[in-house]
């Protein structure tokens, strides 16, 4: 097995890539973009093949007993790496906030929690990236997925009265040629919500269409975000109605226009 840590000071860290289960199966290009982006910023990236799912679907449905074995397996898989990075805010929120309740005695719990990051958070906070090299000439709307927004605090948010910040937007704004457009409701939920998307189909779809409309009014040609699950929902709605908008994960946008 490859080393889980960079041994010399000053050497870039070893990053274990966590690819959420549905990204692995349905959106491999997002995982590839994440991998490339991390490598481009000097990381040594490995993909531990034992990984499957962080357990979020079960945990958020209240099925703690079904989620716990997956949490333990995740901690086994990712123990000891310098950093674990995932192109998903909600999976990282799961590890950080729900694992203490699901695998309280796991020896790697605190170490893995402390070293697991959402991709943009990692670039911004850990690698200190303030400028992303690349070109993305389009009008882009950022969908601020709720778990990244309110569990990971990737941005200050519209509700709280704190000094404004927005890590994802900061990174996106440095791309050459990009025009960021803001919907009128800057961080409203898209209505995906895991099993909510199916059990509360009516409200879920109305919420999603409302987000698409808001972004369309702002002039977005592309909608991007940190969570492919929200984007899958928005993309599904947009394609059904043949809306002229492209939905891309933020890793794909940050990588710049494909050659």
């Amino acid at each position: 097995m490859a080393a889980r840590q960079a041994h010399n000071r000053g050497v870039m860290p070893t990053v274990a890539l966590f690819v959420p289960c549905y990204v692995d199966q349905l959106y491999p290009q997002v995982a590839v973009a994440t991998l490339r982006l991390l490598e481009r910023h000097g990381c040594r990236v490995v993909f531990p093949p034992e990984q499957t799912c962080c357990g979020q679907p079960m945990a958020n449905a209240g099925q703690a007993a079904d989620a716990a074995p997956l949490a333990r397996a995740f901690l086994d898989t990712f123990a000891g790496y310098d950093h674990v990075v995932a192109p998903s805010g909600s999976c990282v929120a799961m590890v950080r906030h729900q694992y203490p309740g699901l695998a309280p005695d796991h020896p790697a719990l605190q170490q893995v929690r402390a070293s697991t990051y959402e991709l943009c958070e990692y670039l911004h906070d850990v690698l200190g990236v303030r400028r992303v090299e690349g070109r993305f000439a389009a009008k882009v709307g950022l969908h601020r997925s709720c778990h990244g927004q309110r569990e990971l605090r990737l941005a200050s948010g519209s509700e709280r009265q704190v000094p404004p910040f927005d890590k994802v937007k900061t990174l996106l704004s440095t791309l050459e040629g990009i025009t960021l457009v803001e919907p009128s409701r800057t961080d409203e939920c898209c209505g995906f919500g895991g099993t909510f998307a199916a059990t509360e189909e009516a409200v879920s779809c109305l919420m999603g269409k409302d987000r698409l409309d808001d972004h369309a009014r702002a002039g977005a040609e592309v909608i991007t975000g940190v969570d492919m699950s929200c984007l899958m929902h928005l993309d599904g709605l947009a394609r059904r109605e043949r809306r002229p908008v492209r939905i891309l994960h933020v890793a794909e946008v940050l990588l710049g226009e494909a050659a």
């Binding site: 993909f47 990984q51 309110r150 509700e159 009265q161 409200v203």
Partner: protein, 485 residues
């Protein structure tokens, strides 16, 4: 009408037969949140109108909050004061009772809704009261006071304009601060035409409000007693504070000699100085105003009058024992969590089937009996906006998640969904099974006709396309390009 039993009244048997209004409460048994919400959203234009109305209030809240540099500090203090008060509630209630009694008020204790209704009725009937005006009180809604009193020959007039509107329609409030937020002005115009004789087709809010003012002025002048809710009760003074914009609590208590104030036990704050924290937060959170127009402090009966305070438990002491749900007792009923909730805004207050709807209602509802309210904690995307607007920082979305765990553990979640996720978890438990299942599913998605896939994908596929499946998963691609690490 013959006097039905207390239990029948509590169940709504004394209420007039429900009439169906567009966007109004549906007749028949509560079908659970998904079905009730689907009915409300079926009228997309109306759902959007409802959403925009409440979003407008949310935006006003944001602006009001932004004016206070200490906003987040105030929220922290409010949270701590409430946590402190709840941890010492028995002692503070005794202190409150001592002080209120010393000032000439009479304190009554009610174990439950039946106690509460009986106490209020006895106070009224002992004084021969048959005409009562009432200002907003979610507690009396919770206890079903109106039908109880009406069944005993007492006329109860809700005097908050929004509450009067829903009372005319035979509905409960659909929102705790904006009781008639689900009703359009044209519908109110038609209602007032029928009930108050306003001009047919009139829908100007100013005109309709003026008509209600005249109508309710008569009721105020004729009332023999005023009932109010309580926003805050203060242990160190024995004061109760009632906040309104319309002035209806003041009108209702200033004229008749008898004032009955009904409050849940959790309304207590330790000291008068705490009010500064809560009054700065309450109206800003509720409507975006810097403070309500009337924040009235009752410190005893008026000369020659009586002040009765009815303290109601009705499940609150039991909830205090339950971690983490006890935090819901900190709620100051500002309604901000409803205004920000993307589900509430689109599904309407009646989709919750509870007296207090929305995020806080979905936490309180299951505590009263999980069976009937089992769908509520799942009626959320867990987006967390509610927790970030809540002026007392209740971690509402985490509470909803905690309820999901309790409901699943208690067998109250839909069996089909639970089983599906259990099987999925079993597949995920092995990287091999996961990879194999993924390959199978992707192949199926690619090979089956699109229409069939849409049908098989059920609730997902009715309005959404499934992702276009790639030929290769990332793990397969990675193994091919990188080999085993």
């Amino acid at each position: 009408m013959s006097a039905p039993s207390d239990a029948a009244v509590a169940a709504g048997a004394g209420a007039p037969p429900p009439v169906h209004h567009p966007g109004g409460r549906q007749a028949g048994p509560y079908p659970g949140h998904p079905a009730a919400a689907a009915r409300f959203t079926a009228d997309v234009a109306r759902a959007h109108w409802h959403d925009e109305s409440l979003w407008f209030v949310r935006v006003k809240r944001d602006r009001a909050a932004a004016q206070l540099p200490a906003w987040e500090r105030l929220r922290e203090l409010a949270e701590q004061i409430k946590a402190h008060a709840l941890a010492n509630l028995a002692g503070y209630l005794e202190e409150f009772e001592r002080n209120a009694t010393a000032r000439g008020a009479t304190v009554h204790w009610a174990r439950d809704a039946a106690d509460h209704n009986r106490i209020v009725h006895e106070l009224l009937s002992a004084r021969g009261v048959t005409r009562v005006v009432k200002s907003k009180s979610m507690l009396t809604e919770e206890c079903g006071l109106n039908p109880y009193l009406e069944a005993r020959g007492v006329e109860v007039v809700d005097t908050d304009l929004g509450e009067r509107i829903v009372q005319f329609r035979g509905e409960p409030p659909s929102h705790i601060v904006l009781p008639a937020i689900h009703i359009k002005k044209e519908e109110i115009g038609a209602l007032f035409h029928e009930k108050l004789g306003t001009a047919a087709g009139a829908s100007d809010p100013k005109y309709l409000t003026e008509a209600a003012r005249g109508h309710l002025r008569e009721k105020f002048l004729a009332a023999q007693a005023g009932i109010t809710g309580v926003n805050f009760a203060v242990a160190d003074t024995g004061a109760v504070v009632v906040c309104t914009n319309e002035g209806n609590a003041d009108m209702g208590t200033a004229l008749p000699p008898l004032h009955i104030a009904c409050m849940g036990l959790e309304k207590l704050v330790p000291r008068a100085e705490d009010l500064g924290v809560f009054l700065r937060l309450l109206a800003r959170s509720a409507t975006g105003q810097p403070v309500t127009t009337y924040s009235t402090h009752f410190l005893g009966p008026k000369p020659g009058g009586e002040l009765h305070l009815v303290l109601v438990d009705n499940g609150r002491s039991a909830l205090l024992a339950r971690d983490p749900f006890r935090r819901a007792l900190s709620c100051i009923r500002c309604g901000a969590c409803m205004n920000t909730c993307p589900v509430f805004r689109r599904s309407g207050g009646y989709s919750y089937g509870t007296t207090v709807p929305g995020p806080i209602g979905s936490v309180l509802g299951p505590a009263q009996g999980p069976g009937a309210h089992a769908t509520l904690p799942f009626a959320s995307t867990l987006c967390g906006s509610c927790a970030d607007v809540c002026p007392v920082r209740i971690d509402l979305h985490h509470q909803l998640l905690a309820w999901r765990r309790e409901l699943v553990a208690g067998g109250h979640a839909p069996a089909g969904k639970t089983l599906a996720l259990r099987v999925t978890a079993w597949i995920f438990a092995s990287p091999w099974r996961f990879a194999a299942a993924g390959r199978l599913a992707r192949a199926a998605l690619r090979l089956l006709p699109r229409g069939l896939v849409a049908r098989l994908s059920g609730a997902w596929g009715r309005q959404r396309e499934l992702p276009a499946p790639p030929a290769e998963s990332f793990r397969d691609l990675y193994r091919r390009t990188h080999g085993r690490p």
